[in-house]
């Protein structure tokens, strides 16, 4: 097949310069043998050839890179800017892109009132079926997504609900409050499951469940707190299984990795790596000059969604089907796909304006130090395919870095105040960011530009415009002033999330209402 295609091209234009190319995947493995192509070959043709070589049933969309430069129009144009020896075989690296495509959200379909205080945490369940939000009025609320109305109100906490986390199978929600208590909820009934987990003396900063491919019953959850300890809880027995002490100051972030390691970042400038099953400290990663605020694992998205495959999402989100064993196998295969050849990578962002890229399972020295931000970094996230890292900072910009090497890619500017939170779409092509200036912005990562500007949590101007559709809306957006008057400074966006099926974005903030955005 490839030779036939090439023969056609040869017959068409005989005098174009030809090059010897070899396809190589991201890990460095060679595909097929070198063959020659005309210099003006386009990415579509390259895709046909590559798919044929890969012998896939359904053709995969692919992106091609020559020495870090993407082939956009034709091979020749990309090579013009680089010094390439035409005598040697040229390596073209192919990257499979997500098969499905998530469309950018453009309008606010509803603003859900109900909370009587600011909404401080928002999370979609792993399949995208349920939406939960925690707020300063001590309640956790579940929202029905098909009708966009409130579903359940769960009372039980006695202080602000600071963090919420879904179990990877989507059957339980854990919520932590400022008093140090953790409660578990059932999304289908809205009732508390099991006992209140008490033990922490100060507020909960993060919650992380054990990955599905390790234990399909989703029994253990880990919590980090300002008191400097990490506790692993058994949710079926309702008690604390293990306490991991070692940090001298507040633990700000916690991640349960897929390899049986637990990572905790703290204000004492270190990141500690623990073995999850017996709680032994493996490594301490030092290097930051100030508090470590946030962490991200390269396999985060796969661990969060568990056995749910975003490509198979339907318009109506469903619960996961299948026995525990099937779920475990599916989750394991998805995890291995994202993880790739090497070990998990970890990125940590800190108040010292820099990020570090680590390979914590192997080494306690960082792989790279990523500098460039001019204010503290609030959140870092790997893209779902773990190729890009996005970092949101108080210097009003979001920076994109390469997920493998840590090299700087681009800066996304547009916000007028600190960027608080970001969320990736499931196909890794879009990024949404919420900021202190009360707006949300959707960025196109490939073009490294703004895709849509969502007025967000504004005054009366916002929602009424949102009701209109299509062209009216886009016209009205351009009429809005570039940034809203000072009264909107109180309407900061505190939490955002993109549903794993890619259909909706939910955002909550100081104006006490939860907004849902759709295409």
């Amino acid at each position: 097949m490839p030779s036939r295609l090439l023969a056609q091209e040869e017959a068409a234009v005989p005098d174009v310069q030809r090059l010897l190319v070899q396809f190589q995947d991201e890990g460095g493995q060679l595909l097929g043998s070198p063959f020659d192509v005309p210099v003006d070959i386009t990415p579509d043709r390259l895709q046909l050839v590559c798919n044929a070589l890969l012998a896939q049933e359904d053709p995969l969309p692919l992106a091609f890179f020559v020495q870090d430069a993407e082939i956009v129009s034709s091979l020749g144009k990309t090579l013009e800017s680089q010094a390439v020896e035409t005598e040697k075989v040229l390596d073209i690296i192919y990257q499979p892109q997500a098969v499905f495509r998530v469309r950018a959200v453009t309008r606010c379909t509803s603003s859900l009132e109900g909370h009587s205080e600011a909404v401080i945490s928002v999370a979609f369940s792993p399949t995208g079926k349920y939406l939960a939000s925690g707020s300063g009025d001590t309640t956790v609320r579940f929202w029905d997504l098909s009708t966009e109305t409130p579903h359940f109100t769960c009372k039980g906490h006695r202080h602000w609900v600071l963090s919420i986390s879904w179990s990877p199978d989507g059957k339980k929600l854990a919520s932590g409050c400022k008093n140090g208590q953790i409660l578990l909820w059932d999304p289908s009934t809205g009732k508390q499951v099991g006992r209140t987990l008490t033990g922490h003396s100060k507020w909960i900063t993060g919650l992380s469940w054990e990955p599905l491919h390790v234990n399909p019953e989703c029994r253990y959850v880990a919590s980090s707190s300002k008191d400097g300890t990490v506790r692993i809880w058994d949710t079926t027995a309702g008690r604390c299984e293990r306490i991991l002490t070692g940090h001298t100051q507040s633990v700000t972030c916690l991640r349960w990795g897929g390899d049986g390691l637990l990572y905790s970042a703290s204000q004492d400038r270190t990141v500690k790596v623990w073995r999850a099953h017996d709680g032994v400290l493996c490594r301490t990663l030092q290097g930051h000059g100030h508090w470590v605020n946030t962490m991200a694992l390269s396999t985060d998205y796969a661990l969060r969604t568990g056995a749910f495959e975003p490509a198979e999402a339907s318009v109506n989100p469903q619960d996961l089907q299948g026995s525990l064993q099937e779920l475990k196998e599916r989750a394991l295969s998805r995890y291995n796909l994202v993880r790739g050849q090497g070990p998990e990578r970890l990125v940590s962002g800190s108040d010292d304006f820099t990020l570090f890229l680590w390979s914590p399972a192997e080494d306690k020295k960082p792989l790279t130090r990523m500098t460039g931000h001019q204010a503290l970094i609030n959140q870092v996230l790997f893209s779902p395919d773990s190729r890009i890292v996005a970092s949101a900072s108080f210097d009003k910009s979001i920076k994109l870095w390469d997920g493998r090497t840590g090299k700087y890619l681009a800066s996304l500017r547009g916000h007028v105040a600190a960027v608080y939170q970001i969320a990736w779409s499931a196909d890794s092509r879009l990024l949404v960011s919420g900021s202190s200036d009360s707006t949300l912005k959707v960025w196109d990562v490939k073009a490294q530009k703004l895709a849509t500007d969502l007025p967000g949590h504004a005054d009366e101007v916002g929602p009424t415009l949102g009701q209109r559709r299509g062209r009216d809306y886009t016209l009205a957006v351009s009429l809005l002033p570039p940034h809203l008057p000072s009264s909107s400074a109180s309407l900061k966006v505190y939490a955002i999330d993109w549903s794993p099926d890619g259909q909706r974005v939910a955002s909550g903030g100081k104006d006490k209402c939860l907004r849902i955005w759709r295409r």
Partner: protein, 242 residues
């Protein structure tokens, strides 16, 4: 008024007079009774209140059920929320200070040290030498001048190379080498001599903290202000000026 043994005397003679009040209250009738009962009621209420207050003082009360306002997410909890007005006024103050050329130091008022305190006169023949009685910093390449020409003696026992520097935000203290004395508030003479007293601004080597500028350059020198009297304590404690 009865005093001493005489207090016990009526009790010994007439027995413990119990139920006096109740006897009186039962027997009274008419308006007098009404007034008396009213007075008794007021006394009873007061007594109950005092007892309750005493009880409350002993037991710990649970905090009010109402949760405080101003809920913020976890990543903003340890940070002070600065309102816009404060940010602007801070910026203006910063600009003014830069114009005036003043540093933002923690000890704005420093006791000026007089010459007799800092320098002790040594009279030997005709050459007048003065010995520094406070802690000083001399630097790595320091060699004394020939004895005939030296005017100031800095004893080796009072020379220090390291300072205990506290980072104000991290609240952690590090032992960092001193790079030099930037300014001694009492007199420029002391600055050139390298005398370190309370309130002196010194420059310390902070490369071990790992602070980085944008662009990836590592910061290796920062100013710190001395907070104790080193000649009394034997060590230099300073606070980093960020």
């Amino acid at each position: 008024m009865l005093q001493n043994e005489y207090i016990e005397l009526p009790r010994k003679r007439y027995g413990y007079q119990a139920h006096e009040r109740s006897k009186k209250a039962k027997k009274m009738i008419g308006l007098k009774a009404k007034l008396y009962h009213k007075q008794c009621r007021a006394e009873k209420i007061q007594m109950k209140k005092t007892i309750k207050m005493h009880e409350k003082r002993n037991t710990k009360q649970k905090n009010d059920e109402k949760t405080p306002q101003g809920a913020v997410p976890a990543y903003l909890l340890d940070r002070e929320g600065q309102s816009r007005a404060k940010v602007l006024s801070n910026m203006i103050k910063q600009k003014r200070k830069e114009k005036a050329g003043k540093w933002e130091v923690l000890l704005p008022k420093v006791r000026a040290q007089g010459e007799t305190e800092v320098l002790k006169t040594e009279r030997k023949k005709k050459a007048r030498k003065r010995m520094v009685t406070k802690v000083c910093f001399v630097g790595d390449g320091f060699t004394r001048k020939p004895p005939k020409y030296e005017r100031f003696i800095r004893p080796m026992g009072l020379r220090f190379k390291k300072a205990h520097v506290t980072h104000p935000e991290l609240k952690a203290t590090f032992c960092l080498p001193i790079l030099g004395v930037k300014k001694n508030r009492s007199s420029p003479l002391y600055t050139t001599l390298g005398v370190i007293t309370k309130g002196t601004v010194i420059e310390v080597n902070v490369s071990e903290l790992g602070l980085v500028m944008q662009g990836g350059k590592v910061i290796w020198g920062k100013y710190a202000q001395v907070t104790n009297n080193p000649e009394n304590d034997g060590c230099i404690n300073a606070v980093l000026l960020v």
